[in-house]
Symmetry: none
Subunit: 196 residues, 4 copies
């Protein structure tokens, strides 16, 4: 199974098509579920012919991978940005920044995040995706190290999962007060790190 995009979309038009496909794929995943996710549907929703879809994505799986990478790249960028702003702050302030970014990122597509997690299980390990995940964890880990947290890598990973879980829980039930959510995550993280 091919999983790398068949060609890099260099031209303007190509980029639009790729973007439309990824958008449509996200919509299908969220609205119809992973089991109903199929290339014909995606192409239709994207307003693109199935032939064109295969021009840019060599397989169904490659579409999923691309979405995952896309989302992770964005998250990584945001996280790096937040980490940069952490310099000079205390740990509590730093965590706050990171949590806000996490909520903003996942919170804007909470259902998609969940479906992608399911999809990732089914995918052949895509190094690109894993590398991004590591990079994100690493970004957090560096912030933690600067405040002398033990096992910063493990802690970073745990914190990511922990935040994800609470964000998901919040968006699963109805109306979500983001302030409270932020506070809850922060408290859990601080508890985990034993900062009181």
């Amino acid at each position: 199974m091919q999983t790398k995009p068949r060609k890099l979309p260099v031209q303007r038009r190509s980029k639009d098509v790729v973007e439309a496909i990824l958008l449509a794929a996200g919509r299908v995943l969220v609205e119809q579920g992973y089991a109903s996710f199929n290339t014909n549907r995606v192409a239709e929703v994207a307003g693109v012919s199935i032939g064109s879809l295969y021009q840019y994505f060599p397989s169904k799986e490659s579409i999923l991978m691309s979405i995952i990478e896309q989302k992770r790249e964005k998250l990584l960028a945001n996280m790096k940005n937040a980490a940069a702003q952490c310099v000079g702050r205390d740990l509590q302030g730093s965590l706050e920044l990171l949590v806000v970014v996490a909520i903003e990122s996942k919170g804007s597509w909470p259902r998609l995040a969940r479906v992608l997690a399911l999809a990732e299980h089914d995918l052949p390990i895509a190094q690109a995706g894993l590398d991004l995940k590591s990079a994100i964890a690493n970004t957090i880990s560096i912030v933690l190290s600067e405040h002398d947290i033990d096992h910063p890598e493990t802690a970073a990973r745990d914190i990511m999962y922990l935040a994800d879980a609470l964000i998901h829980a919040a968006y699963t039930s109805r109306p979500t007060d983001l302030k409270i959510l932020r506070m809850n995550i922060l408290n859990a993280v601080k508890g985990y790190l034993r900062i009181f």
Copy 2:
């Protein structure tokens, strides 16, 4: 789509068949992934004819639901048992008990637990499964109420997700020290509840 078991396995033999199917389904989910989960494969792994599978499960989805219910029923029983032992204890001691039970339950099939949690979103709402989830949350919620925790229902739900996330994170990377895992969860929970 039918999702209720077609005939209740009353006889010994039937119970064996149903058990074999659920076991096989779990193996397929864990070893081959959600996308490869299909009735033919499950029947084959279970050593049962496809016809027999459909005698007991009216649809592919009903198998998933049954596993989820089975696992949740066991967890609920364990949780109720733990909750009973919580009477008279302080909050910290109670939480410790509950966390241990959660780790023991999910920890014995961590990968399956994860796939099921994610797969659930792809399923038509199965009231039985949801009810069990509520019942579990409720069991925790009652313990929390006895110690005057605010919003015990929300807290109970969040704690469940939080614990799941850290258990999953722990089992995803390799060797897991259960004591440390327990402590980490407990700390996060205590932080979430603002008990220091």
Copy 3:
């Protein structure tokens, strides 16, 4: 494919079972349609195990054939009886008698009669059923001969179909006045035979 009943039901109990199966088969055909007619369903509706059903009917088709034969035997008996009473009457009176019998026979299970008539084409030619059909036509044909009708065999056959068609038409739309139906059939038959 086996089509003859596997054993003649000599004992009382056997007769009941056979009767129950034929009755159930008729109900299934009428209520669920030919496509939904299957041995498991018939056995269930009959309150008989699928094993027992196959004790008395070697195949699905044999059940259909048996119903057809059963109904035809009854019709044949009634027709013969009517034909006997025709002796000495004029043609018009004779036809009236036969038409009344036809209406009474088909009219008591019009929907089933229709399905069976159509289903018969799907069956391997069952000599028993065909023989009965011929016998019925023959009974009519003899009456016709006695009044010097040309081509009495063809006429007999045509009259049968003609009557069936009008009976079916009548029962397809709602409330049916049997007197009018009888008159209509009689008029058509008389027209066909050119008796005015």
Copy 4:
């Protein structure tokens, strides 16, 4: 169950495929019977892949419906045409015209007509098919009204069934003299209508 054609065959090629499928379906129905009618067989006989079949027909049933509609549309057109030519004629002449059309239509596929009648029993009520049936009856009914026949709707329906029955009877036995068939139907109809 889907029953409406999935995509309208606008292009030349599509039309060919749809036509091939309907033709093949008719052949299978006639040569192998309703019970042996299945999509794989139809696709094979049509020389089309099973996938293509499902591009144009969303279900097995939709194929049946399409044949029924196709045949009825043709019959309706012929009937309307005949009815138009009836203007100014006397009743006897009008009936003759209609009977000729009926014989020509049904007579060209007598066995198929029968199987379709059986199939129709199993189909969810397809409004299109029913409407066509009504339209045909209505066409006849209008002709009858113009000659002051009582209950023209009922009479129209009865005549349709009556003619079908005699056509079927004629084609069921061997060689059929169409002139005699026409005369027989006409006589029966005239008898039914009490025109002598």
